[in-house]
């Protein structure tokens, strides 16, 4: 592990340190894994609201005459269907059809913004450069000059709306809006997140990060908001069945195996990895499944999965679910494994029975219908 001093720091690093954040190395950044308890922070998000520093995520801006075509050539989803102020989940693949990164593409009025994983920023940049060809436009990495703060949970809207000068309640899921926070901080706010709850993510200038963070905490205190670390972010996304790069998706795993075939548009013109994806879509090797362990011991990443007594797969993420109070895991098993097959997981030398369930493990009850 790199020493603390060589790690990248978000604009909120000193705040985390001063407020009990337990700082750990994550993807080359010094990040808070928790402040008080993962379970407490997790429950705050499910029941009230939680505040997350996600400034380590990569933020790349694109502007120029043919950046829409450029992004369309780099990523698997269709930019043609991405109208202004919409956000799209998409994938960057290698020539073998493996997933180099999963990204969000924001279509702003005169530019595009791509949010990528912290650990894959260099790899994502490489994929966009590989796709650049004759397209005209500029790609700028804005990660270090900006900050990104998420507020997630059923109270997120009530807390954030009074701090923002544009209406937020009418912003649909996977849409963005632009305006000012605290009357002076330019912000791109999206109705997105990685927790399975309603919520928003704001991109602002790095120098305003502490002011915006503190204003949200003050505004949110009567609503029970608390700061949350990467530990709760992981348990929340796992309950919501969301893949994490390096675990459920990787350069060795294709989107169809991961259950992300809906984000691959094979009918659009050529794009990175298309030839391999056409083939892999017809011949899936394995499939991502959800498991609920019968006991409480956690089946963690790397644990062997047995199907009808034979070793046939591997766990990619596992945790204890604070909401369901059960040990959950996501795993790969051979494609075509019957739903009723008996599944066991080797948890540190002992086989533990598990039940295969449909993902997600947890789905929030939505107050109103959204597109």
């Amino acid at each position: 592990m790199a020493s603390e001093s060589s790690l990248l720091r978000t604009p909120l690093h000193d705040w985390h340190q001063a407020h009990g954040g337990r700082l750990v190395e994550f993807a080359g950044w010094s990040m808070p894994v928790q402040y008080t308890s993962i379970v407490e922070e997790h429950r705050a998000v499910r029941q009230r609201a939680g505040l997350f520093d996600v400034s380590h995520m990569g933020r790349l801006t694109f502007d120029g005459p043919s950046v829409a075509e450029w992004i369309d050539h780099a990523a698997t989803n269709s930019v043609a269907s991405l109208t202004e102020l919409k956000i799209q989940y998409s994938l960057l693949c290698n020539e073998r059809g493996g997933v180099v990164d999963d990204i969000l593409v924001y279509r702003q009025p005169f530019a595009f913004l791509v949010v990528c994983n912290a650990s894959n920023r260099a790899a994502a940049l490489e994929r966009f450069e590989a796709a650049r060809g004759r397209y005209e436009g500029n790609l700028v990495d804005r990660t270090r000059e900006t900050a990104m703060i998420a507020i997630q949970g059923p109270r997120a809207l009530e807390i954030l709306a009074p701090l923002f000068d544009q209406p937020l309640d009418g912003v649909p899921y996977y849409h963005l809006t632009m305006g000012r926070l605290l009357g002076r901080v330019n912000a791109v706010i999206s109705r997105t997140g990685y927790t399975g709850e309603d919520g928003f993510e704001a991109i602002i200038g790095a120098h305003s990060a502490v002011d915006v963070w503190q204003a949200r905490l003050e505004q949110g205190t009567p609503h029970g908001v608390i700061p949350c670390g990467l530990g709760a972010r992981d348990t929340l996304r796992l309950e919501a069945g969301m893949p994490l790069h390096g675990h459920e998706i990787s350069p060795e795993i294709d989107p169809f195996e991961a259950g992300l075939g809906w984000a691959v548009k094979l009918d659009k013109p050529d794009f990175l990895g298309k030839a391999a994806l056409v083939d892999r879509g017809r011949n899936p090797g394995r499939t991502r499944i959800g498991l609920v362990l019968e006991g409480k011991r956690i089946a963690r990443e790397g644990a062997a999965v047995f199907v009808n007594g034979n070793q046939a797969g591997v766990v990619t993420s596992g945790t204890f679910s604070p909401t369901l109070e059960q040990a959950l895991a996501m795993a790969y098993v051979p494609a075509g494994t019957p739903a009723e097959a008996a599944i066991e997981v080797d948890v540190r030398g002992r086989r533990e029975p598990a039940k295969r369930v449909k993902l997600p493990f947890y789905k929030r009850t939505r107050k109103s219908a959204r597109p």
Binding site: Q34, T36, S37, I38, V39, G295, K296, R297, R300, F320
Partner: protein
């Protein structure tokens, strides 16, 4: 138990020796570092444990940690209440959260264990992470 009367391993287990019976637990500091405990695995009565070797594991949301025996001995009693409900360990690590009682092996030494003052000094030095 009065934490000041106990001896500690560098891996945060505590020992209270009464004649040939040693009661073993884990320290408040360790419990606070682990947070979000889920399960604990303890040995059976009759199992032999060796100083410095794992005799069980405690699992939190974040990670699994081995429990290391601070002294050689044979398990004569297991705290089944903690085995069934690990929240007892989190709530009262020096009392109701004790883990096992050992019959200490003849000639087994408390060598390598720290007294309370030395242990406090160690965690103060390690704790500033």
């Amino acid at each position: 138990m009065d934490p000041r009367s106990l001896h500690y391993s560098p891996t945060h287990e505590w020992v209270s020796l009464d004649g040939e019976i040693a009661t073993i637990g884990v320290s408040q500091f360790a419990v606070e570092q682990l947070t979000d405990l889920i399960t604990i695995e303890l040995p059976r009565v009759g199992a032999r444990v060796t100083a410095g070797k794992s005799f069980g594991e405690v699992e939190s949301v974040k990670a699994v940690s081995d429990l290391y025996a601070p002294i050689d001995g044979e398990v004569v009693e297991v705290n089944t209440a903690v085995a069934n409900d690990v929240s007892l360990l989190a709530a009262d690590p020096f009392g109701k959260g004790w883990l096992v009682k050992l019959k200490v092996a003849p000639g087994a030494a408390m060598a390598g264990l720290l007294d309370h003052a030395a242990y406090e000094k160690k965690i103060a030095e390690d704790g500033g992470h």
